[in-house]
Amino acid sequence: MKITAAFFIVLSLIANSAKSETINSPSGTASELVADILYVNGGIWTGIKGVADASVMAVTDGVITYVGDGKGLNFTASETVSLDGHFIMPGFIDNHVHFFEGGYGLASVDLRNAHQPTDGF
């Protein structure tokens, strides 16, 4: 699929979180994709070996509906967010955490900087 410089210019124009923007593909045969939020200019990890990071991600109703390079698609999104080249990946899972104990610890006095017995007072 062919991509032109015009496509990237449009991407850069909406780089600062524009509202209700449409990204037009230069191709007359582009498919339409409607999303709540469109993330652009990212380095989006896909986990596919040997494939470059994706740059565009669309989210609707909290669900990722598209990840790719945006080629050949017309996007209409309520909100467009530029990732400014930041890396995007799935969230981490901590499989052993004392959650509330940690929370109560964060709610308590922090004595890690008490270098002498009297520093806490």
Partner: protein, 144 residues
Amino acid sequence: MWEGKLPHKDWIDKQTADPPVFVIRLDGHMALANSAALKLAGINAATISPSGGEIMLDAAGQPTGILKGNALNLVLQVIPKPSDEEVLQAFELAQNHALSLGLTKVHAVTANPTETSMLDDFRLAHRRGKMKIRVLVYTPIEHW
């Protein structure tokens, strides 16, 4: 740090006075109790250390305030149950910390036998619409 010494209740008794104070080490396996907390927990020179724990004693056989391992439970079990608002505050602090590190899901496990309300506490956060993170709650069967 602290000339290699473990803390002693004498370090804090004068300033903390009547309110019981219990300072838990970051890893949760050791803590310092002031004299008021020791008294509330019924810990004195005659108290036998529980299995898997130690009530540290000084040369004169008196508790230093340092409790190790399962001995922490002696104090933890006399701490009043936190209010719903305190539970939610701890929840949100923990949740925000987790999210700030890129964690989107945690597997929550109890830290000690006195932590009997973990599942209910997550349910409270859920009912109040506070949950931003996914949680797998490992609940001891006796707390179900």
